[in-house]
């Protein structure tokens, strides 16, 4: 159909124009313009949320972004991202780095580069009603599971446990859908999201989480492929923040409970190096 062809031509032309946007590498931008755009996940958890009084973003991710910007001597511009938009925004060039609770996995490692030292370790767990009859991960076979669009847990739960994913634009909708009975369990990050719910929120007292956590994977800062210099520079900062206990202090400040054993581990291990 001529209409479709014409549309295709137009959109390819636009795509071609959009490639010209990838002019600077991140380090050049930091050195020349002294600014950096950081994609942070603002989902309503201690990692990223909005302060209702000022409508400004706050949380662990935000604090890390600002701290890195301070050390780089660059002005930090925060852009909020969702699991469903973060990779696209990075690839487009809209953000330079991602501090978005995005765990390392081999598939992502193929298309993006990352800072070698992680800043958190997160595993996923499933939250389900105590009466649902789901006691092990294998019980999820053939059952619908609520999850976030773009989550790294989708493939594991499908391929390893045969669950049927129902992906929502954000974790808040996914959890609401769980309460609405659209799925038997919801799979999300354990420590940042699900454990705090179970601990502090009396509405979730009829729910429990599954053990062991799946894919306990390190959360790293991501950047576009080929930006090794930026990654190396940020790496030195991240190691220092582990060494001087900044991460542990920030974790406590943002109310992340229980304190992550991974952070304590890195704090102990890293001083040995230069």
């Amino acid at each position: 159909m001529t209409l479709t062809n014409l549309r295709r031509l137009l959109t390819v032309a636009v795509l071609g124009a959009s490639f010209t946007a990838h002019a600077d590498t991140t380090l050049d931008k930091i050195d020349s313009r002294h600014e950096i755009t950081v994609g942070v996940m603002i989902g309503g958890s201690p990692f990223g949320s909005l302060d209702p009084a000022t409508q400004q973003p706050r949380g662990f991710n935000v604090d890390l972004a600002n701290e890195l910007g301070k050390r780089l001597g660059a002005k930090v511009q925060l852009v909020s991202v969702l699991p469903s938009t973060r990779v696209q925004f990075l690839q487009q060039g809209k953000v330079d780095i991602l501090i978005a609770n995005m765990e390392y996995n081999a598939q992502r490692g193929e298309i993006l580069d990352h800072v070698a030292t992680p800043y958190y370790r997160v595993g996923g767990t499933a939250i389900t009603l105590k009466t649902s009859g789901i006691a092990r991960w294998a019980d999820l076979r053939g059952k619908p599971v609520c999850i976030s669009q773009g989550s790294s847990y989708i493939r594991p739960i499908v391929e390893r446990y045969g669950a049927i994913p129902r992906a929502f634009p954000g974790s808040s909708q996914s959890l609401l859908a769980l309460r609405g009975g659209s799925c038997v369990a919801a799979v999300h990050d354990a420590a940042p999201l699900l454990y705090p719910l179970l601990q502090s929120d009396p509405e979730w007292r009829d729910y429990r989480t599954l053990q062991p956590e799946i894919e306990p994977a390190p959360s790293v800062i991501w950047m576009r492929q080929g930006e090794r210099d930026t990654a190396a520079k940020l790496d030195t900062f991240v190691r220092e923040l582990h060494r001087n206990g900044w991460f542990i202090a920030t974790e406590a400040k943002n109310g992340l409970n229980p304190p992550s054993p991974a952070l304590a581990e890195w704090h102990r291990q890293l001083p040995a190096e230069n």
Binding site: L3, Q91, Q107, E159, L176, A177, R179, G180, G181, S182
Partner: protein, 247 residues
């Protein structure tokens, strides 16, 4: 077939479009199923909205003022709030409350997301249908109505045999337009994980980052559907044309 597929993928790769997901069963099968789900949603919503639109119209024109007022109020609310917000309110809030209420009594919630999407979209479009039909009724020539009354037809017969068919014909362009809008609005189902083609595309592009390639497919799909609806509408208009009106 396979050779055709590989040829297509290599050709489009040269343009910068990534269609490799078509080779992966894990991604291709849900995508094709998503096409079917979208069509299911659209057909169900068309039928349900047509029926609901008629019911709303009867309520509006009825003699009971309370019912007419409620219908009017309902139409105003559903026409002046976004479909997405209505969908969230129905599926995330109402559904959750129903589930909790039923669970306390040990019953499973029978309403699935598909049901909520069809319900919300049909009611939304029914309001537009009712408005279009009302405009159709307003356009009826008073001579015809007076003539029918003078022939001793009862109110019900007049409505079903004379007024409604004429009003339908007058309202047909607007109704077809509503149906086209309905086809487009069905994309919003992706927000509550119903499994339509937009949802499946999101699932693929968040892993593969081939937004443009999938966009083109979805646009082509919806383009074909709206084209078919418009053709059907034009055929209906030609078939049921009233001589002496329009051109």
């Amino acid at each position: 077939m396979d050779a055709l597929l590989h040829g297509f993928i290599t050709a489009t790769a040269r343009l910068g479009l990534d269609y490799r997901f078509l080779l992966d069963d894990y991604e291709r099968v849900p995508f094709v199923q998503g096409l079917g789900v979208s069509i299911e949603i659209i057909l169900s919503t068309m039928t349900a909205s047509a029926i609901a639109g008629l019911v709303l119209l009867l309520a509006l024109r009825g003699r009971n003022r309370l019912v007419a007022g409620l219908a009017r109020g309902f139409i105003e609310v559903t026409r002046n709030t976004p479909t997405l917000v209505q969908l969230y309110c129905a599926f995330l809030v109402l559904n959750m409350l129903i589930t909790q209420w039923l669970r306390a009594r040990g019953i499973d919630n029978p309403f699935k997301p598909f049901f909520w999407v069809v319900l919300v979209l049909s009611l939304h479009k029914a309001a537009f249908h009712a408005e279009a039909l009302r405009a159709g009724f307003d356009a009826l020539p008073s001579q015809t109505l007076e003539g029918a009354a003078s022939l001793g037809f009862s109110r019900a017969t007049r409505f079903w045999r004379i007024e409604l068919p004429l009003a339908l014909r007058a309202a047909l362009p607007a109704l077809v337009n509503n149906m086209v809008e309905l086809v487009k609005a069905s994309a919003v189902a992706s927000a509550i994980a119903v499994g339509d083609v937009t949802y499946q595309s999101i699932m693929i592009w968040t892993q593969r980052d081939n937004v443009l390639a999938l966009m083109l497919l979805i646009l082509a799909f919806f383009g074909v559907l709206t084209w078919m609806v418009t053709l059907a509408g034009r055929w209906l208009e030609r078939r049921y044309r009233i001589p002496g009106y329009g051109y």
